[in-house]
Symmetry: C2
Amino acid sequence: MDVLWAERGPLTAREVGRLIADRDLAPTTVMTVLDRLTRKGFLTRVRDGRAWRYEPAASRDAYIAELMLEALDMTGDRSAALTRFAQAVSGTEAEVLRKALTELEEE
Amino acid sequence: MDVLWAERGPLTAREVGRLIADRDLAPTTVMTVLDRLTRKGFLTRVRDGRAWRYEPAASRDAYIAELMLEALDMTGDRSAALTRFAQAVSGTEAEVLRKALTELEEE
DNA sequence: GCGTAGTACTACGTCCCGTAGAGGGAGGGA
DNA sequence: TCCCTCCCTCTACGGGACGTAGTACTACGC
């Protein structure tokens, strides 16, 4: 569901239908999905003639980060979970995290 | 559903029912839930007489960390998401992360 | 043998999701 | 003007997960 959108660029309408023609979906299906995503706040839409133009409400990265925070919210002990997470990421990714945190500190 | 368990300690059986007596659930309900959680791999169970003794398969923290990793897996650009995440956590939590990463480095 | 505790199996209502059809309004050509 | 086409909104249906629970089977103790 998200996938269709996720990687796609800026904005569209039923062009989405064309873009995922390989899935051979009814046009209404695409519209329903876009509509539901909008309702849930994942997409934003703007009128364009009689059609709508959809746009991701947040970048994919922001969305993922939000999901991660949401998971984090489920625990009582955030620190423990964070530590656990830090231990779980691969070395390369730990590096990325470290770097991001360092830059953060410098501001 | 998870909540019942989440904070609870080591292991139990239908004692769980007693522990959450405030929710006034049928004993079978509790069992079904425990059973389903077991099926999904969140719990482990061991025979104890004719009863079962349930135990979390992973610590809550580990579970949360896993959820976070799962979210991370949904993106194409893990680094970007990680960076985003690092920026999103509060200062105190950034500190926790930093510390965990540093300790990791030292090993 | 019988009651009780505890289990396994099955069920029902609800909600979300993927999918789609039926119907309504607006623009364009005959 | 009327009809056709496009795109939208509303409604629906099957499937799966979840919270809840009832019924049926089994084993232990008196």
